[in-house]
């Protein structure tokens, strides 16, 4: 079971089956009340965010998933170029490119900008989200 929530007092809503969200994959879901959420699975753990970018309301969860970029700095401050960080996948809002860390929902450069996250519970092949 995956429990990832500080909001466990909220209503749990059945949103998907476990099979719907593969490792490294996602499922973006429309709920009945005009709320869309993106479910993501990374290293076995599930994450849920509202599909609404704090920048200009873009559909962040429908963007490209791409590993975060690091700049490798050698001793003496020389740059050894760019590299992907496989432990820090990002969701990229397709409207203007804001990148959010999949594991926290925070903007990769300015963490005070963040996607609205929801608690997730996975049990018996069902995925519930705390709304």
């Amino acid at each position: 079971m995956t429990v990832n929530t500080e909001k466990s007092r909220e209503a749990w809503t059945l949103v998907a089956r476990s099979d719907d969200v593969a490792e490294g994959g996602r499922q973006v879901i429309e709920l009945g009340n005009d709320v869309q959420i993106g479910l993501f699975r990374f290293k076995g753990k599930l994450y849920a965010y509202e599909n609404l970018c704090p920048h200009q309301s873009g559909p962040a969860c429908q963007g490209r998933m791409v590993d975060g970029v690091r700049e490798r700095i050698e001793e003496g401050g020389r740059s050894a170029g760019l590299a992907f960080d496989k432990d820090d996948p990002h969701i990229v809002c397709p409207w203007h490119g804001f990148e959010y860390r999949l594991t926290t929902g925070e903007h990769a450069g300015v963490p005070s900008i963040r996607l609205r996250g929801f608690g997730v519970r996975e049990e018996g092949g069902d995925i519930h989200v705390a709304l």
């Binding site: 059945l14 998907a16 879901i29 009945g32 963007g63 490209r64 397709p94 409207w95 203007h96």
Partner: protein, 400 residues
């Protein structure tokens, strides 16, 4: 407690270059509902279509038979020349989509029914519908780089061909589509002819100087253009463009840096020449629009030029007021509006008298576009100022 909704996976799980514009911009509908934008007159003063899809047709409008043949042969015999023959497409611009992270910048590749119209007509309509836009001023994309073409004669021929193609094949297709046509600025006579040929067209709202870096806009040979535009009551727009080849940007290693600086310095240069040489005094009724450089540069320029002018008045003897006073009599498009510090933005709006001088623009489908809700969400603007910026000011500038 467990409740059961009817969760449905979205049909579009990942937005790509092939996604329908309505799906990419679906969330813009939220702004429409929240702010009642369906009831607001919205004029988008800067948006684009991808003329590369129609390049073969555009080339057929090139007047010079030798150049036309060269281009047509290129399209037959050179791989990938089909959309680029004769153009000045720069490899660096392909970095705009941030490695396909921002897919609509890469060229909207969604399917469009074959109606016989240029596919861009349908794409423009889809964007207008998604953003509740009533009138959209549409410009080309790569053709805006025409001011950077290394061969002036080709630049002039291409601009003329594109203009004729656009007026014949796009403008008649939808009454909501308007344009400001680019001038073949390297050739002042051809520019004058362009204004005379299309200046009476009801959907041609004005004329543009595009991405031009190397012409002093105050040179005497351009005065007949400005006089003609003033006489006709048509505005002149300066649409900035980016290049990696400004001496300053040539040191830069990231597109972010080039994009941040190159548009702005392009317009800064022309605006400085425009004011210091007293063009607003010579043509007081000529309406001038500065397009696509955001707004943050304006307070800087106001302070900088006022400061210099007071000490060196004899170098700008035509001026009767401070440079910033002339700047407040010109117009500016909003995109990309720099909303990162609300206090700075408010000062900028005050400095430029934005409620009367700012014109909403989306710049769709470019990577840094702004939806109309961007303006509605600015907390320090009153309702009237928002309506002015979204469409009221444009109504006045363009006599809509």
């Amino acid at each position: 407690m467990t409740t059961t909704h009817q969760p449905k996976p979205l049909p579009t799980q990942e937005i790509t270059t092939r996604t329908h514009t309505a799906d990419i911009l679906a969330n813009a509908r939220r702004d429409t509902d929240r702010y009642g934008l369906d009831k607001v007159f919205i004029c988008d003063v800067d948006s684009h279509h991808a003329e590369l899809n129609s390049w073969k047709d555009i080339i057929s409008y090139v007047e010079d038979p030798v150049l036309r043949d060269i281009a047509q042969q290129m399209m037959i015999h050179r791989p990938q020349a089909g959309q680029l023959a004769l153009s000045n497409y720069k490899a660096g611009l392909a970095l705009q989509d941030a490695g396909a992270r921002i897919p609509h910048q890469s060229g909207l590749a969604e399917s469009v029914p074959d109606t016989g119209d240029a596919r861009d007509v349908e794409l423009v309509r889809r964007a207008m519908d998604a953003m509740s836009i009533d009138v959209q001023v549409v410009f080309p994309q790569p053709m805006l780089e025409i001011g950077l073409h290394p061969e002036k004669g080709i630049a002039v021929q291409l601009m003329k061909a594109y203009n004729r193609w656009f007026v014949e094949n796009v403008l008649p297709k939808d009454p909501r589509i308007k344009t400001m046509l680019g001038l073949p600025f390297e050739d002042p006579q051809a520019s004058l002819e362009t204004i005379r040929e299309f200046g009476d067209h009801p959907d041609v709202l004005g004329f543009l100087v595009t991405s031009q870096r190397h012409a002093g806009v105050h040179r005497n040979e351009y005065m007949p253009l400005y006089a003609e535009l003033e006489e006709r009551g048509l505005p002149i727009g300066f649409h900035a463009g980016p290049t990696w080849e400004d001496s300053m940007t040539s040191t830069m290693n990231r597109f972010l840096s080039v994009h941040a600086m190159s548009f702005v310095t392009c317009n800064m240069t022309h605006l400085t020449n425009w004011i210091v040489n007293g063009i607003p005094e010579r043509f007081p009724r000529l309406k001038t629009i500065w397009i696509e450089s955001g707004l943050a540069w304006l307070p800087f320029m106001m302070q900088r030029l006022d400061h210099e002018y007071l000490m060196r008045q004899s170098e700008a003897p035509l001026l009767r007021r401070l440079p910033s006073d002339y700047m407040r009599q010109m117009y500016y498009t909003s995109q990309p509006i720099e909303i990162t510090d609300m206090a700075l933005l408010e000062s900028t709006f005050n400095a430029m008298n934005a409620k009367d001088t700012l014109l909403y623009s989306s710049d769709w489908p470019h990577w840094d576009f702004d939806v109309p809700g961007r303006i509605m969400g600015i907390p320090f603007l009153d309702e009237q100022a928002k309506l002015n910026i979204l469409g009221g000011n444009a109504r006045k500038v363009f006599d809509l």
